[in-house]
């Protein structure tokens, strides 16, 4: 009844509000609010970190739909375990570590399905993601590189890609792969040797 009356009454004119530009809240504040269960804080954290993370996952997996699934699972798990994160500065690395663990799992599954003939064809290979303006040689090299990377096992391919495609520091790659620095270096070196054999490249990763 009341709502009807309200609807019939003419709405009073609201004075125009002046929107002030405010500084975006820090991850610390957002994390505190998110831990209290505020959905807006969760959304803000997501919007801040999701796009770059999705780009990385897409390049690692080469299949957009799978990359989106991994991103979903990554943030779902991260939001469920926000209490475990002490330092807000570690949030991007923590998200990457979760995402990479899901990428490992998804890569193994994709590999198995492809061997059985059920795999989703890649729609985000390095060649398909090539930026405009690359030379034909660069296109050719991307295509060859993708073909060579496809031959590698996830445990060597992913550290190599994090180091050489994404440009993460070795320490960050080791953290993301949840293995020691020495292991990370060894795996990247293995991948380098494989790639060098196929591409006849002389240079190796900066390890």
């Amino acid at each position: 009844m009341r709502s009807r009356l309200l609807l019939r009454e003419p709405l009073p004119m609201q004075p125009a509000r002046v929107l002030k530009t405010v500084a975006a809240p820090a991850d610390d504040d957002l994390l505190d609010a998110a831990r209290r269960g505020e959905t807006r804080a969760l959304e803000a954290l997501y919007r801040r970190h999701a796009a770059p993370l999705l780009a990385t996952i897409t390049r690692l997996l080469g299949v957009r739909a799978d990359a989106e699934d991994v991103l979903h699972d990554t943030f779902l798990l991260a939001f469920q375990r926000l209490d475990q994160l002490r330092d807000s500065g570690a949030l991007p690395g923590w998200l990457l570590q979760i995402a990479v663990s899901f990428v490992y799992r998804r890569s193994r599954r994709l590999g198995l399905l492809r061997r059985l003939g059920f795999g989703t064809p890649p729609d985000a290979s390095l060649l398909e993601l090539a930026a405009a303006g690359l030379s034909p040689e660069q296109h050719a090299e991307l295509a060859l590189l993708q073909k060579t990377l496809d031959q590698l096992a996830p445990k060597t391919r992913i550290p190599w890609m994090l180091r050489n495609v994404e440009g993460y520091a070795l320490q960050e790659v080791a953290g993301a792969c949840a293995c020691s620095l020495a292991t990370t270096k060894r795996r990247i070196a293995e991948a380098d040797a494989h790639i060098a054999r196929y591409l006849h490249r002389t240079e190796v990763s900066d390890v």
Partner: protein, 374 residues
């Protein structure tokens, strides 16, 4: 030389990650709004482990060694006082395991044995309906003097009178054993009954020489055929077989024969004779497996019937020395402590009570030392 920049990402597009992220948020926000129905993996692992452990424990638990005590009534171990209630009819005793004894006619019952494995009664007279809880750990036997009724779980009726005995089964199966039962044993199923009348024999001065008075076999549960026990006891104690020549030494009875005779004496109200017979087992066959059992039975008779507590404690000690079987070891120690306590041997009582607690920490009479209080 590579044509690609380092990192290679600089030569790639972001692949529509903003749009993709927007799509994913649509799914994620819906997932976050839903209450989580997912059971944490740790809980799943814990529940699974508990289930497996429970199943393993249930399968592997040695049931025969479970510490099941004697049958109780209202928290008290069943005793003669409880059974006295059945001397009126109708009356009933509800046992802790769900079994019920119900007197149809005034009945005189005697408790022969009440342990974790065996529950044995002697029905002197009257009629009792036994409703035995199936699947119980104890073997029930009802002695009547004429027949022995063995049962695991069933409902049956036993009527004992001067004229004989009648066993009728309402549910389940019972075995009726006895010397005069055709083929010595008869299986009765529900609805069946068996009746045996007492022999009316003309009084004779002496028993026929050809028929030994002792029943054969490993028969602690065997027929108690002779109504006048003292005659049997005398036979067993002294008399050589009538056909034995003077040159032959009188044959000593086997431990089984002696224990059967002792049973006869015991259930017919002659504990002294029973003790005497059992002592002959220990004297003549000290290495026989029945010797420690005989010593235990002597101790029990001295403790419960003869009230000679000092002698009882000595008998239990002897049973222990002779190597009482594990099944009776705990009972031996419990009664030994009780006998010492009643005999007033406080120091020795505490000593044995300490040993008892050490040997059987979870036993029913773990507070046995209470018997030792001066």
């Amino acid at each position: 030389m590579s044509e690609l920049p380092k990192p290679i990402r600089d030569a790639l597009r972001d692949g529509g990650s903003e749009l993709g992220a927007q799509r994913v948020w649509g799914r994620l926000s819906k997932t976050l709004e839903r209450p989580s129905r997912r059971i944490p993996m740790r809980a799943v692992v814990a529940i699974t482990a508990v289930l497996i452990a429970s199943v393993a424990a249930w399968v592997l638990w040695p049931r025969d060694q479970r510490p099941v005590g004697p049958l109780t009534v209202g928290g008290e171990t069943l005793n003669e006082t409880h059974l006295g209630a059945l001397q009126r009819a109708p009356a009933e005793i509800a046992l802790a395991d769900g079994s019920v004894l119900r007197s149809v006619k005034p009945a005189r019952l005697e408790l022969l044995e009440n342990s974790a494995q065996v529950f044995s009664l002697f029905l002197h007279s009257g009629e009792v309906e036994f409703d035995v809880q199936p699947g119980g750990p104890r073997r029930w036997t009802i002695e009547t003097g004429l027949v022995t009724v063995e049962v695991v779980g069933t409902k049956f009726n036993v009527a004992r009178s001067d004229d004989g005995v009648r066993v009728s089964v309402e549910r389940g199966v019972v075995l009726v054993r006895g010397e005069r039962v055709p083929n010595r044993v008869r299986r009765l199923e529900h609805g069946q009954s068996f009746e045996l009348t007492t022999e009316r024999e003309a009084p004779t001065p002496a028993p026929p020489p050809a028929e030994p008075p002792v029943v054969r076999g490993p028969v602690r549960r065997e027929v108690l055929r002779v109504p006048k026990r003292p005659v049997v006891v005398e036979e067993a104690q002294a008399a050589p077989p009538p056909d034995a020549g003077d040159s032959e030494a009188p044959r000593e009875k086997t431990p089984e024969e002696l224990i059967t005779l002792a049973d006869v004496a015991r259930v017919s109200g002659h504990p002294e004779e029973a003790v005497s017979l059992l002592e002959r087992i220990i004297d003549a066959y000290p290495n026989d497996p029945l010797a420690p059992v005989a010593a235990f039975t002597i101790g029990k008779l001295q403790l419960e019937r003869l009230r000679d507590f000092a002698a009882a404690s000595a008998s239990f000690e002897r049973a222990n020395e002779l190597g009482i079987p594990d099944a009776l070891r705990e009972q031996t120690f419990a009664r030994w402590v009780e006998a010492l306590g009643r005999a007033g041997q406080t120091t020795r009582c505490r000593e044995i009570a300490a040993q008892y607690r050490l040997l059987f920490p979870g036993a029913r009479s773990a507070n046995a030392a209470e018997h030792c209080a001066p």
